[in-house]
């Protein structure tokens, strides 16, 4: 059990009469990259929403290590060590890049609520250094004083990555981190994600881009119509006839 950092057991999620997820079982080993692929509407984002506490499952439970996540608020789940990037970047458009990264870094230090206002941001040297380090990691340090809302979409994505990384999460969930990026930006992101992998952070990644999936993932789960139809190493999944039929539709990967 303690082998798995994320343990999703028998999760169902219905939206009215629609069954978005049925009988999902997903186990992710610590320090690995687990990709979830599947056609549009397969329930990938719904599954992520269940894990981070945005949606409550109708049945089943989610564990992080030995901690039950089901029924907790998103902020509690984040405090337990789950960070997430969204399909469309969720950043603070009215703050500078540096401040964008300081906010999550402060959450890690201060917890869910801390109202002390005696210390100025200027004297929060450690948090600032941490945030600058993260911005350097994603190659945005020269824009640190710029307004986040004025950045390009690719830059916003990388900023969001830096925000999540500054919390050093136990489990990092990425919802299509390269969607809408140019090939060049995609490659930069893959390099970045590989570098994080070396640090031993567990990641669950949803992705359409097979190039990204096969260059990063240790294991792949294939979701179709709300159910997991296959799971295995990239090699196994690539050669699974069910997968070819349901998802890849004859396309060579």
């Amino acid at each position: 059990m303690s082998d798995y950092i994320l343990d999703v057991t028998d999760v169902d999620k219905n939206f009215g009469g629609l069954r978005a997820l049925s009988d999902i079982n997903l186990r992710v080993k610590e320090g690995t990259v687990h990709a979830i692929i599947g056609p549009n509407g397969a329930g990938k984002s719904t599954l992520l929403n269940v894990i981070v506490g945005r949606l409550a499952p109708n049945r089943g439970r989610v564990l992080l290590g030995n901690e039950v996540l089901t029924g907790k608020h998103p902020y509690e789940i984040n405090q337990l060590g789950v960070a997430r990037v969204f399909q469309t970047p969720e950043i603070f458009p009215d703050l500078s890049l540096l401040q964008n990264v300081m906010v999550p870094a402060l959450a890690k230090r201060d917890g869910e609520f801390n109202m002390s206002f005696l210390k100025s941001l200027f004297s929060e040297r450690e948090i600032r250094a941490e945030a600058e380090h993260m911005l350097e990691d994603v190659g945005l340090i020269e824009h640190k004083e710029h307004l986040a809302g004025s950045m390009s979409r690719g830059d916003k994505r990388r900023l969001e990555l830096a925000m999540c990384l500054s919390q050093r999460p136990k489990l990092f969930l990425l919802d299509e981190p390269t969607a809408g990026m140019s090939r060049h930006d995609t490659n930069r992101t893959i390099d970045l994600l590989k570098r994080i992998k070396e640090r031993g952070m567990t990641k669950v990644i949803i992705e359409h881009d097979m190039h990204v999936v096969f260059s990063l993932a240790d294991r792949i789960s294939v979701l179709a119509q709300g159910a997991i139809i296959a799971e295995g190493t990239p090699e196994e999944v690539r050669n699974n006839p069910k997968v070819k039929e349901a998802y890849l539709g004859g396309e060579t990967v």
């Binding site: 405090q79 906010v103 206002f117």
Partner: protein
Amino acid sequence: MSNTQIVSPKQDLIYMVVLSVVVLTMPIWLQPFGAAYPDLMQKFMIFGIFAIGYNVLFGLTGYLSFGHAAFLGVGSYTAVWSFKLLSMNVLPAMIFAVALSGLFALLIGYVSLRRSGIYFSILTLAFAQMSYNLAYSVLTPITNGETGLQLTQGDARVLDRMAGIEASAALPTPNLFGIEGIGYSGFYICAVLLIISFFIYLRIFRSAFGLKLRAIKSNQNRMGYTGYNTRPYLMTAFVISGMYAGLAGSLLAVTDPLAGAERMQWTASGEVVLITILGGAGTLIGPLLGAGIIKYFENIFSAFNDQVLQNAFSFLPDWLGHAVASVAGLFVGDGWHLTLGLVFMLIVIFLPGGVMEGITRLWRLVRSRTTSFDGNKKEQQPSTREV
């Protein structure tokens, strides 16, 4: 000194010194504007305090409260009761006013902050109007209803009696250990309080707490997934702004020890929204400027009457002079709200960031002119809002 830059304490110190000098020398530099009399200057200070407190909520978190006059009213009533029961000293009056309005804000905030956006605004408006109506009717024993709560000769003033201050024939005036709460000394009491209030407000702006509040305004959804429980943050901001309003309310009672229910009416709540937006919501000194501008024009314009206008246009032929004066008459005196409305519309349409945005734009213009003269153009940063 923009909001997106991290400002050093040294710069803030300069800021505080400049502000203190500007505020304390008001009786001198306001002379040419005809505004250097204590009553009006006290109003500048009081509404400045009210507005900077309001800015902690609206400017930082973006939550638009339409009920802050309720806290102003609670502050006034509490202060007058303190004058009646305890002492004419303003210190206990202010302490009780701040504490009680904070408590009141806790109650209203607890319910109102369950919703956001327009629903939050409506809830606060409803609470304030309820308070207003209660003060007028059911709570008459406490608020003295329509007449308003006033001092009387027969008040207990326990502490004053104990200190051996005997009741005189005239009603006593509020004082701070002997310093009178009216006139120039009254202005200086208010001015010092404004400076202290501003200092605390500056600390909030510059702290991690302030950054988190601004992050809530920018993207509350992200805050949840970043590990923040946003409700207590909003509650704290709401209570702080309620306490500022309570302090302002108590100072209104200091300058004139009388509290009426109309102080809690929705127009009074609207006024502080107006002040903040006019000056520049979310900026540091915008609300102070807004308070100064609105209170100044309220005084100047509302003092104009038909006679003054007739004289002003007497150089025109009689028939024209009468016509112009009657049109202009709509905008002054009791009609000065019409002028205010027009100015407000112009500001919101052309300078959505308020007067502060105008100043920032001017400053940029001047700076870009001077740098291009030097021949070394500095690259401009994209739209960082100045303080």
